[in-house]
Structure formats: C-alpha cells, structure tokens
C-alpha cells in the first residue's frame, strides 16, 4: 500500500491497485488517507490535487457496496471540508461524484455534500469542465437520491440554494443544458419557498431569449434549438413563476426580432399548457390583450400561427376550470373583438378575425358552439354579392373549413354545411372566368370540405365533382384549372370516391375529347383532357376502368394521325407509372383486361395493314410500354412466358391469349416472316425474370439463330428493332458465352460477314453480353475497332451507338444484368486505340463517329480526364456533316467545360468550327451557340477576348433565323460577349 501510494503520487499512476487492496480487505480507506496525510497539506497545490485525485480515483474503482454507512459519513465529511481548498475543487467533485453512487450513503451525508457546496463552492472561480462536474453531481442526486433531497423542508431548501449557488453566472451551453434540466426537476418535485421563487426564476429567465449561435468547432455540438427547448421546458415546469413570467414574456413581444417573438409565443403556449386552468384563469386577460395584435395587425404569418396556438390553449385550459365564468368571459372578449369585423366581410381585418375565431373554436365543440355558430351566422347573413365581398366571404369560409376539429362530426360547421356549400357553389358557378382568385378560393373551399371526415354526403361530393369537371372542360385560366385538377385528384384519392370519378368525371372528360387531332388547338385539348384523366386515375380500380374506356376509345380515332392513339395509350401508361412507385403494385388482373385487346389491335394492323395508324411506330411503342409495365408487375410471369412462346412461335392460344385475339385464318409464327407485331413479344418478354426457365422446346441458342435469320429478311428499321432487342435480351439473360461456344462462333461469323445487316445483328447480341462485363464481348468490340479503317468502317463505328446507347428495355427493373463499370472499361480500352488509329489513317470519319458514339453514352466524369488525348478528334467531329456527330462533339466540350483548361488551348480551331456549326440545323445550331456562350464565362478572359468581336459579328445573321429558339440562343450568346471584359 505504501509503495502503491508513493508510486501514484510520483507518477499519477493508477489507483486500481490500491482499490484492490481495500476491496480485498488488505488495507483500509483510513490508512490511505493517513498515508496521504502530509501530501494533503503540502504547500504545493499540485501535490494536494494529486493526493485528492488519488482518493477520488480509488473511490471510483471501489465496488459501490464496499463502504459502510459509517465510512461514507467520514469520507463525506472529509471531502466536504476539502472543498474549502479552492485549487482542489475539481478533484473533490470527482470524489463526491464517486461517493454518491455508493449504496450505503445516508441522507445526512447527501445533505452534508449539498451544504458544503453552498458553503464553499464558488463557480465563478472555476473553469467550465470543473463546473460541469458540479452539475453532474446535482443531476445524479436528482435522478437517484430524490428521496433524500425531498425528505424535509430544510433538505429541499438546501438543495435549491445549492443549485442557485452552482448555476450562478453560468454561460457555457453544455452546462446550461444541465442547469435547465435540474431546474426543471426542482420545479416539478420540490416545494420552492416563497423567498426562493424569484431567485430561481431569475436564474432561469435571465437566459431568455436564447440567442446562442454555436461556434464552429464546438466539441459538444449543442444547437440553439436544444437550448431553446430545454429553457422552455424549464420555464414551463415552474408554476410558481406564474406571477413573474407572463409580464416578462409579454414584454419580450415588443422585440423586433422575429425569432425572439416566435420563441416567446412558443414559451407562452408551453407555460399555459403546463400551468393548468387555475393559473390560466388568473392570466388570460393579459395574454389575450398582449398577443392578439400579432394576428390582427402583425405581418408575419408564422407569428400569427403561433399566436393562434396560444389563443387556442387559453380556451382549452379555461374549459378545464371548475368555474366556467372565466371561459365565458374570455369568449366574450374574443367575440367583442372579432364579431364586428366578421359581420362586414369587406373589413380589412375580417379574415384575421376569422382566424382567431376558428382557432379558438378548435378548443372543443362547446367553445365552437359559442364562437363559430354566431360567426358563421353573421357571415352567411351577408347578402352583398359583389365580387370583393364574395371573395372575402369565401376566404373566411375557407378558414373555418380548414380548421375543423379532426374526427368530430358534430361541430357547428356541420349545421351550416348546406349554406356554406351554396356560397361556394355560387362563387364558382356565377362568377366570370376572369375572377380566377375567387373561383380558386371556392375550389379550395370544396377541397377543404372534402378533407373533413363525414362532412359531405355522397350527393355533395358528386355535385362538387360535376362543378370541377365543368371548370376543367370550360375554363382557360391556368391557375383555376390547376386548382380544379388538384381538387379532383384529392377527391379521387379519398376512399369510396372511385365510383364518383368513374361515373361522372370519366364520361364528362371523354365526351369532350375532340374527334380528331387535326389542328394544334385540338392537340392541346386532347393532351390536356387526357392528362387530367391520367392524374385522377389514382387507384387500381380506377385504372381498371380507365383501361376499358381508353381502349374502346382507340377504335374511334383510327382516322387520326398517330398522335391521338399514342396519347390515349400514354394516358394509361402514365396512370400505371404513377402506381408503380407504390408498394405491392400487382397488375395480374390487368393481364386479361388489357392484353387481348392490345394484341388484337396490333395483330389486325400487322396483317391487314388497317387501320394503318395502329401499326405506326409511335403507337406500337406506346402499346409496348404498357405491356412491359403490366408484365413487370404481374405475379404470373411464368405463365406469361409459356403463353407468349406458344402464341408467337406456334400460333397456339391460351388463357392469357384467347383465340379471339388472333387474326383470322392466319398461319402465325413470327419466325417465318418478319412482322411488326414482334413488338408485342419483345415488350412482354423484356421484363421477365432471368430466373425463369425458357420453355423446353426452345433452346436459347437455336432461338437466337432463328431470330437473327428472320430479321435479315427485312430492312424496315422499326421491325428489325423489335427482333434485335429480343435477341439482345435473350443473350443477356439466358445465353452465357462460356457455356455456349456456338453462340460465340455465331457472332464471330456475323462479324466476318460484315454486311450492314450482320453487323447490326451482331451489335445487339454483343450488347447483351457487354452489359454483363463479359470478356468475350470486349474481344468482339476489339474486332469492331479493327474494322474502322476498312470498307465497313463507318458501319462499325456506328455500331458503338448500339453497344453503349441507352435502351429503355435494357434496364435493371427488367431483370437485365447490368454491371456498373462496363462503360468505363470499354472507354479505357477502346479510346486509346481510336486515338492511335486515327493518326495513321486518311479517312478519319469512322474514328470520329465511333468516338462521338462512345462519348455520347459515357458519363462526363469518365471522359474529362481523357479529354486532352481526344481533343483533336472532338475538333474534327465538328466538321463531320452528320448532325449527331456534331452534337456529340459539342456535348463533349459542354460536359467538360470549366473542369479543365484544355478547351482554351484549342480556341483557334473550336471557335471557327462552332461558328460554322451555328449555321446548320436548328438543334445543332442551338448547341453550338450554347457552347460559344459557355466559353465567355469559363475560359480565361485574356484568351477569349480576342474572339469577342468576331463572334458577335459572325452571329449577326442568325438574329434573323426563322426559328425563335435559335434567335433566342443567338441573342443570349451575343449578350454574353457584349458584356465580356466590361467593368460593371
């Protein structure tokens, strides 16, 4: 023990050894104190600190049940005395913190500690860390020794004094959080003597309002909000403050700072709720008088909202009071202040008055009866029907409709339902279209009414829906239309309303659809009406009905352009997409309602060529998307797969594809001749899970070979695309290069054949593998690079677009395998070869085209680092006649501009090329102009200024371009150069 103590003193070693000796009764705590004796009175504060620290550390390491009550009394006495020695306070507090955790500690000892703090502890002479220890000690006592603290009046008083001592002059945020918490505990658990109320209040309220801004490197990460809430809770806990706090808080409302006012109002609201009815009864008058102006005359909606909460709280608390006269008096006050203003809706304070009445009424049905009933009677009694009056009335009604007691079906509002409804209907129906703000208010009023539980009857809702349909069909004001659409969607989303939408809105809108899309106006109309239909189809049931309606409408638009049927299908698709984001979207039931119908239309068009419009690529595409979406989310993909294969490869019908879908008297096999209806197969096939097994009859490779051989029979790009996408999907999901050498050999042959047809086919097959990051695919890519200088160079170059371009069927949602890094891998391996090859050949176009195709589909983060090496190819791409190549070149520059300064060193070549490009097709022209414009803001001034006048002058003719967008882009670019180098 001796040795251990000396060791500790010499090196501030660990106390565990000493604690061990005491725990195992080989030594006594008293011995330790004696051994330390002379150190404890040493002249050096440092030595005394170490000595006390030793005792504190030992105490911390002892088991909490080791020391007896007697021993604890002694040690507490010892520590309390030591507290007088200021330099060792920190160490003593550590010791105290350890002692209070001992199980045998007596109330007397606790009191000893508490009293010694009052007597000796002086927080202002200690640093934040030491003060924190005192708070931890008090906090521990409140949490674990509350019985001792509460035991007698003098113990209570002692602890309050102790707290006041400890928190005196505190400024540190972490300590304040502790201080507020202890204060809150005191208010909730102790009886604060009269004399201490004011000091305790001052010790808390002096921090209000908190304007703390956390320092940048605050290790404790304490926010102003934490402090605000803690202080608010502490204040709200102190019922005893009520006489002091309300005057003090109301005075703070004179502040000009919004956040102070907001904090004040929040605190008032919290205090009212916590202090209870009695105290509220004593103070409501002052609060009402002191806060109402924030609503009536304030300009900040946020503060008004907080004030309304305060006013509502007052009513809530007063309701609980035994004596209802206080509540009555309060409500009379509210009435006196508000009713005059409400009776005259044109009064400029009428809506504010309505807000107060409506908010206070939220306190309960009884209050509402006393306030809302007369208010609504007054407002509905107004007979003036001029627009401004009607607008104010609607505004006021909207306030009441929006603040209806949730889930209460007997509020006064219910009694006035019919009259409110009439006013809103009148506002909507009899005001001219130009009064959009009034009409919108009415629509919002209806929406608010829809939101109130059990407020509207079925008939009411039906009427509203009719009104809204009418607005949608006849109005032209954008904002009114938007409000009507939103309201309709809201109604459609409420459970039980699907039937109303289905029976009223669907026919109303469908019957308004123009017969054909001949002129621009009709197109806009179709687009609008169908959009609304898509938006209101918010549930499974509604989509089911929408399908039937839309598909039967398809038959009536056969004489139209492709746009009309496309839009019809897109409507359905849009509604489906909206549902896709929701969980458990199950489309199985749509299979039977949609598939046969879409298939029949497509088959008929495919075979008989009529109606021709149904076989156009746009329509086929749209139909395909619907099929894909439905197949993706149905639960019977295996059945779909089997049925598809039997139908398309054998002409056999099934449950999903009943015989009625088939074209009459046709021998049907898509592998016999290339047919446009292959799109149906590909669309349904695309989303099928790759875990499914293909039907036994069809070996994947054999299937692939027949598909490719069928496709060689047509040059129609649309039809080819359906077959080739199918091939790509097949190789991606079901053919592995390692397991199918025949497939690899097949592709090798195709590449050797090197016709346009063969190369296109090969590209799609390779695409399927490339997405999987398959090494064989990269070998084939090298073969394609090798073909660039040859006779088929340009075709090979273009095939890179197929390899890397995005296709909406090749996505993860369709169970396609896509490895993240395949684009990067291709870029890194192919681009250096392109740069190298480009230098050695005469015909550079294939290289430029290949590069532009690659750059087009690869993220700019991959391209930028390599920009320097490919820059000369990019510059050349601007002079290739093909628009796509030009665009790709410009896009490369635009994507990397600002990230590197390489562009600046090529300005001599780039500026003339871009000026040339600005005079090609509108799309390219706009890109080139944007690119030139971007130079003005990204290239270093001295480098770009020499081009200023040339660019401005060369672009002048474009100001007279026939396309508006080109003119606009030209104006913007020229403006950027006019401003270049001008000091503002």
């Amino acid at each position: 023990m001796d040795a251990l103590v000396n060791q500790y003193m010499a090196a501030t070693g660990n106390a565990a050894g000493i604690a061990d000796l005491i725990t195992t009764d080989q030594a006594k705590l008293v011995d330790l104190v004696q051994l330390l004796g002379e150190y404890l009175v040493d002249e050096s504060a440092k030595t005394r600190q170490t000595a006390i620290q030793c005792i504190s550390d030992v105490l911390k390491d002892l088991p909490t049940d080791k020391l007896t009550k007697q021993q604890l009394t002694v040690i507490c006495e010892f520590l309390s005395e030591r507290l007088a020695d200021e330099p060792v306070t920190g160490q003593v507090l550590d010791g105290m913190n350890a002692v209070v955790t001992m199980s045998a500690i007596s109330s007397l000892s606790v009191k000893k500690i508490v009293d010694s703090l009052v007597g000796y502890y002086l927080p202002s002479s200690h640093v934040q860390v030491v003060r924190y220890k005192a708070y931890v000690l008090l906090r521990y006592l409140t949490e674990n020794k509350s019985q001792s603290l509460k035991s007698t009046a003098s113990a209570q008083e002692g602890f309050i004094k102790c707290f006041l001592t400890c928190t005196n002059g505190e400024k540190d945020p972490r300590n304040l959080l502790e201080s507020f918490a202890i204060n809150e505990w005191i208010s909730n658990n102790l009886t604060v003597p009269e004399n201490d109320v004011e000091p305790q209040f001052d010790a808390t309220f002096c921090y209000f309002p908190i304007t703390f801004r956390p320092p940048k490197n605050d290790p404790y990460k304490i926010t102003a909000d934490q402090l605000k809430v803690a202080l608010r809770t502490a204040l709200a806990a102190g019922k005893q403050y009520s006489k002091l706090i309300f005057p003090a808080l109301l005075e703070k409302l004179t502040s000009s700072s919004l956040s102070v006012k907001g904090d004040t109002l929040d605190t008032i609201a919290a205090c009212i709720a916590n202090y209870g009815p009695e105290i509220t009864a004593e103070n409501w008058k002052d609060i009402w008088d002191g806060t109402k102006f924030e609503v009536l005359h304030g300009s900040e909606p946020e503060l008004a909202g907080k004030t309304l909460t305060v006013l509502k709280r007052l009513a809530e608390e007063l309701q609980k009071h035994g004596d209802q006269s206080q509540l009555d008096e309060y409500l009379t006050n509210v009435e006196t202040d508000c009713m005059d203003k409400l009776k005259d809706p044109t009064n400029r304070l009428s809506t504010q008055a309505a807000q107060i009445v409506a908010s206070v009424s939220l306190a309960g049905v009884d209050v509402a009866k006393k306030l809302t009933t007369p208010a609504l009677s007054a407002i509905l009694a107004v007979t003036d029907t001029q627009i401004p009056t009607l607008t104010s009335i609607c505004e006021i009604l909207l306030i009441f409709l929006k603040s209806s007691l949730p889930n209460v079906t007997s509020t006064p509002l219910f009694e006035f339902k019919d009259r409110v409804f009439d006013v809103l209907a009148k506002a909507l129906l009899s005001s001219p279209e130009s009064e959009s703000s009034l009409r919108i208010l009415a629509i919002k009023g209806f929406s608010a009414a829809v939101n109130i539980t059990e407020f509207l009857s079925q008939t009411d809702t039906e009427l509203i829906v009719r009104y809204l349909d009418d607005v949608i069909v006849n109005d032209t004001n954008t904002k009114t239309l938007q409000a009507a659409v939103d309201a309709l969607v809201l109604i459609a989303e409420k459970p039980g309303n699907a039937g109303i939408i289905q029976n009223i809105t669907f026919p109303a809108l469908l019957s308004e659809l123009p017969a054909s899309d001949s002129d621009k106006e009709a197109k806009t109309r179709i687009l609008f009406l169908l959009s609304v239909l898509a938006k209101v189809s918010t549930s499974k049931t509604l989509i089911e009905v929408l399908q039937v309606r839309i598909l039967s409408h398809m038959d009536t638009v056969t004489g139209s352009t492709a746009l009309y049927p496309t839009l019809l299908l897109q409507t359905l698709l849009s509604a489906l997409k909206e549902q896709e984001s929701k969980d458990n979207f199950d489309t199985t039931s749509y299979l039977k309602s949609t598939f046969p119908r879409l298939f029949k239309t497509a088959f008929d068009a495919s075979y008989s060529g009529s109606p021709a419009v149904m076989a156009t690529p746009q329509v086929t595409e749209a139909a395909g998307r619907i099929l894909t979406s439905i197949t993706r989310h149905c639960t019977v993909q295996d059945q779909v797969l089997t049925s598809l294969f039997s139908l398309f490869f054998n002409g056999t019908t099934s449950d999903i594809f009943p015989s009625a879908t088939l074209p009459e008297k046709q021998k049907f096999n898509v592998l016999d001749t290339p047919l446009p209806c292959m799109s149906l197969l590909t669309s349904c096939f695309a989303p099928l899970s790759r875990d499914l097994e293909l039907p036994k009859l069809h070996d994947p490779f054999v299937l692939l070979r027949s598909v490719i051989s069928t496709v060689s029979g047509t040059a129609d790009p649309a039809i080819r695309r359906h077959y080739l996408r199918f091939a790509g999907l097949l190789t991606n999901k079901w053919i592995n290069t390692a397991a199918s050498p025949q497939a690899v050999a097949f592709v090798t042959d195709l590449l050797e054949t090197a016709t346009l047809d063969a190369l296109e086919s090969a590209a799609w097959i390779i695409k399927g593998w490339l997405l999987k990051n398959d090494s064989t695919a990269f070998k084939f890519v090298d073969t394609l690079v090798g073909m660039l200088p040859g006779a088929n160079g340009l075709v090979a170059a273009k095939s890179f677009d197929i390899l890397l371009g995005d296709d909406e069927l090749f996505v993860k949602q369709n169970s396609v395998v896509i490895r993240q890094l395949y684009k990067q891998r291709l870029f890194v391996s192919v681009v250096p070869k392109l740069v190298q090859g480009y230098k050695d050949v005469d015909d550079k176009v294939p290289y430029v085209v290949a590069l532009s195709n690659i750059v087009n589909s690869v993220p700019s983060s991959i391209v930028s680092p390599a920009l320097e090496s490919i820059m000369s190819l990019v510059v050349d791409s601007l002079s290739v006649s093909e628009a796509r190549v030009k665009t790709a070149g410009i896009d490369t520059i635009l994507a990397t501009i600002g990230q590197t300064d390489i562009v600046a060193s090529y300005l001599d070549e780039l500026v003339p090329s871009l000026l040339d490009a600005a005079f090609s097709s509108p799309a390219v022209s706009i890109k080139a102009l944007q690119c030139l414009g971007a130079f003005a803001s990204t290239v270093d001034l001295p480098k770009i200024v020499p081009f200023k006048q040339r660019i401005i002058n060369s672009l002048t003719p474009l100001l007279d371009h026939k396309k508006r967008d080109v003119r606009r882009a030209c104006v913007d670019t020229r403006q950027a150069y006019f401003e270049l180098g001008i000091n503002k």
Partner: protein, 192 residues
C-alpha cells in the same frame, strides 16, 4: 445612388406576366413529358436514312418575330433603382409593343415600344429607354428600326424624353459614355 425616386412601386407577380405558353400547356401535365422525349431508337439502318434530315416536317414553319418575342427580350431588363424587372414594374407591357415586319429578310422593319414610367416625374425614363434601345439593337437583325417613346400622358416632360430617346446623335453619344454603358450593362445582366 441618391434616394430612389419611387421607393414603393407596385409590383406584378412573375407568374402573372405575359408569356408565350398560356393556358393549359402551362399546367403540370403528366403527358407533356412524353411528348418532349422521343429518343432516337438505336439502329444502324435508321441512322443511314435519317442522317442529316431535321425532325418533324411541321417544325419547318417559320416563327416570325412578334410582340411577345420583343416583350421577352426587354421585360427582363432590370430597373436601374429596384431589384425588379421592367416587366414586374409594368414599365414594359405587351400591349404597348408593335412589330411592323413583312418577314422579308431584305426589307426594313420597325418596332415601336411605349414605356410607362412608374411615376410621372421619373427622371430615369431616358435611362430605361436607352437600356431598351441597346438591348433591341443587340438582339435584332440590322434591318430593324426602333421607336421608343413614353406612353401618352405618363410623363411630365413627355416630348423632351421622346426626343432624347430617338435622337440618333444623342443616343450615339450616350453609348460612348463609359459610365453610362456600365449602368446599362448592369441593367441587361438579368436578361435571360
């Protein structure tokens, strides 16, 4: 700058200003998105035939310069003393712009703009007029001529201002004043 001449002008909400896309097409329509995106399908054969040709046929229609286009050019100019645009302050109004243009690129054309100062003694009317003139000269082909006047009855010294705004010599002189150009440059900075 000294105290603003009109410290509290009336301001029009941006969404209420006239634009080319009125009515239904401005709504949040789910189908609108589909129309804009028609990705070029991946295909070699398609590329062969489609190369070089422009999009749809009806896109070939010429779009003449109209008053809305002029409005779009000048309504976004900033007021010299407020952080607001001339459109928001209703200094420039769509109905006070006239375009006389045959569409023939070899014939002269004229644009008339009448501005409405926010208050009748606005001494900045000439500066605003000059800003508009500079903007139009930069943004329109050289065959266009501009007449910029204050609207009848909206300014105390209407004739003086009109004379100053359309006097070639004085405009040219003003455009050589570096400081003036700097101010105008600031006004035009918000044009998008």
């Amino acid at each position: 700058m000294s105290d603003p001449i009109n410290a509290n002008p009336e301001v029009i909400d941006v969404s209420a200003l006239p634009t080319r896309n009125k009515g239904q097409s401005q709504l949040d329509l789910p189908l609108g998105a589909f129309l804009d995106t028609h990705p070029t399908p991946l295909s070699l054969i398609q590329n062969e035939s489609a190369s070089g040709s422009d999009d749809d046929d009806d896109d070939d229609e010429p779009e003449p310069i109209d008053s809305q286009e002029i409005y779009d050019l000048i309504a976004t100019i900033s007021d010299p003393e407020h952080p607001l645009t001339l459109g928001q302050l209703a200094v420039v109004k769509l109905e006070d712009i006239w375009v006389h243009d045959t569409g023939d690129k070899n014939k002269m054309a004229e644009i008339v703009v009448k501005i409405t100062p926010t208050i009748t003694h606005c001494s900045l009317a000439t500066l605003i007029g000059l800003g508009i003139r500079v903007r139009l000269e930069r943004a329109l082909p050289p065959r266009f001529r501009f007449t910029i006047t204050v609207k009848e009855g909206t300014h105390q010294s209407e004739n003086q201002v009109n004379k100053q705004l359309n006097d070639k010599e004085r405009v040219a002189a003003a455009c050589e004043n570096e400081q003036l150009l700097g101010v105008i440059s600031g006004m035009l900075a918000t044009c998008q």
